[in-house]
């Protein structure tokens, strides 16, 4: 197990180097002159050249790449052209919001999705199966922005149960420590004994998590169902039944653990997608996350910001894959021992 981890971790370095290199060349090859963008149309030649020299853009590409790698090792993404603040600072303010949202969306999607998948597999061709699979089809095909708006209409405007957007009740005096509001709120609950922050943070998370998690939920439900159906026909399930083991235990322990392998893959991939693809949800729920910020950065040709954002998201993706691989070994002993 330790050897597996060391091997897997050492593979991270070339992967990340590849990501960083790809991002560099994609931006270096993309049309448009950053200096021109920063200074605007009226800048004269002299000003442009001064800025290029400042940014290192007058150097040969090889030298630029070397300098870039040096900065990347220190997580120095430079300053945002638009705001003038260090990119890393902006990301560390915004990314926790996105991670928090994606995390809760994924918890929602995985728990409900797996339960629905198992139920419809064990009750194949009954009304439970049909309803949940038609529901899953709806889930996959529903546009996120539309679902988000409908959720707001019903639960915020109509029933007045949940807030329409943002991360915390604005009337609370709330200073963030980690930028993960749920964690902050738990710290405050322990320190001050006041649960209002936690309840507000959770309430603000519900609707965006549901909106963001619906598509992954539907996908997870379908994958779980087909994987379960396959596993339930295996010989070892018959063995377990012939040994008198309770049907619920046969399903939830003997079968599900085998059926989870493809489901874990899907959960990992979907989680990565949510981190980068939450722009619509973040926009509608006024969620101050990375997706919206990155979208604006691309629009404004804010190269350092785009670079930093893309690298951070890809790094997370790589790390999630690492976690998926580790989870694999926990579920499947065959991989662990190879």
């Amino acid at each position: 197990m330790v050897r597996f981890l060391i091997k897997r971790l050492s593979l991270l370095i070339p992967t990340l180097l590849g990501v960083v290199t790809l991002v560099f060349f994609m931006i270096a090859l993309s049309p448009g002159d950053p200096a021109r963008v920063m200074l605007g149309e009226r800048a004269n030649k002299q000003q442009l050249e001064t800025l290029r020299a400042e940014l290192g853009l007058d150097q040969p590409l090889g030298t630029q790449y070397g300098l870039y790698l040096k900065r990347m090792v220190r997580f120095d993404f430079g300053k945002s052209i638009k705001t003038g603040r260090p990119v890393m600072e902006e990301i560390s303010n915004l990314y926790p919001a996105t991670i928090e949202l994606a995390f809760f969306a994924m918890i929602f999607a995985a728990t409900i999705g797996i339960i629905i998948g198992v139920l419809s597999a064990t009750r194949k061709n009954t009304w439970i199966d049909f309803t949940s699979m038609v529901g899953a089809l709806f889930g996959v095909s529903m546009p996120v922005f539309w679902l988000a708006l409908v959720l707001i209409m019903i639960f915020s405007v109509g029933l007045d149960l949940l807030p329409t957007g943002s991360r915390m009740n604005v009337r609370y005096y709330f200073e963030s420590i980690t930028n993960f509001y749920v964690i902050d709120a738990i710290i405050l609950l322990i320190r001050e004994g006041d649960p209002k922050y936690l309840s507000s943070a959770v309430k603000h998370l519900i609707l965006p998590s549901v909106a963001l998690g619906t598509i992954p939920l539907a996908i997870i439900a379908r994958v779980t169902r087909s994987s379960m159906l396959e596993v339930l026909t295996q010989d070892y399930i018959k063995t377990a039944r012939s040994a008198g083991i309770k049907e619920s235990r046969v399903v939830y322990r003997y079968a599900l653990k085998n059926a989870l392998l493809p489901v874990i893959t899907i959960i990992g991939l979907q989680f990565g997608l949510l981190l980068s693809g939450a722009i619509l949800t973040e926009t509608i729920f006024a969620w101050p996350g990375l997706g919206k910020w990155l979208y604006h950065a691309i629009e404004a040709r804010d190269y350092p910001a785009v670079q930093g954002g893309v690298i951070i998201i890809s790094t997370t993706f790589v790390l999630i894959n690492l976690v998926v691989d580790i989870l694999y070994t926990l579920v499947n002993p065959k991989i662990r021992l190879q």
């Binding site: 295996q234 010989d235 070892y236 018959k238 063995t239 377990a240 039944r241 012939s242 040994a243 008198g244 083991i245 309770k246 003997y254 653990k257 085998n258 579920v331 499947n332 002993p333 065959k334 021992l337």
Partner: protein, 335 residues
Amino acid sequence: MTEELKNNNEILLSIRGLEVNFHTYRGIIQAVRSVSFDIKKGETLALVGESGCGKSVTAHAINQLIPMPPGKIDKGEIFFEGKDLLKLSEKEIRAYRGDKISMIFQEPMTSLNPVFKIGKQIADVFMTHHKISKKEAWDRAVRLLELVKIPSPASRANSYPHQLSGGMRQRAMIAMALASPEPGLMIADEPTTALDVTIQAQILRLLAELKAEIEMSVLLITHDMGVVAETADRVVVMYAGRKVEEAEVHDLFEHPGHPYTLGLLNSLPSNEKYKGQTRLEAITGQVPDLLTIGLWCPFENRCKYAKDICRKEFPEKTEVEPGHSIWCHQVGKLD
């Protein structure tokens, strides 16, 4: 009948007039038709026949592991220690499974759960049927692995199925089937088919040794007459869902009474008549379609003794000698 069975202490399991049908979109498949036989305490009964003859379905009917639907036990009684298993609820029959009626399967490669340790899988069976601690169940599992002669059982219990060879896995399967204080009946569904010949012999020897140690009856399902000769006390031959012959193993090999049994024995490569010959004799023709099969003798289309009456009705039981019965219109010497 019930009273008689209750009083008969010799008999462990008694199947009476069992009929199993599969209700599919194409129609009703008559998998087992009015099959009856008994298994005595401590006896090994072999259920023989080719693929699809209903032998596995019959065996699975005992602990009701036939996939239902589409399968359905439409008629019959299965008495185990005087109780009709078919009248029990799912929960009651589950208490029998793995405790008094255990099963081992054909494919040791796929019959053990790949994600749990061997010891854990056996311990789980203990814990299903007895109120014992995890530690205790594990210890008993290790002792069982020792009983089935797995070397260094304590460390093997910590192995996963893919770390064991086919023979070892089958031993582990047998250990799992023994995970009860008094295995009454062990149903062995082609236990050696997937193993190579030397391992086959080892497993059969192991089963014979276990039977001498533990009081249990074995229902051996197989299509391999060699295995039958080596292990069984009595034999029931099935063909296309019907029981066609029942005899002590010695009688069956000496004087087969049914043309189908004769065909089976004639197709054994070890048969004396093949000395110096290179071709095997096969039974000509094909098994009838169970969807459209009639009420007459199912072997009629492949039988060289077939007469008009064979195409009209299924024969009554004929006792050719004490304890040896056939269901055939052609009674007498076969050549």
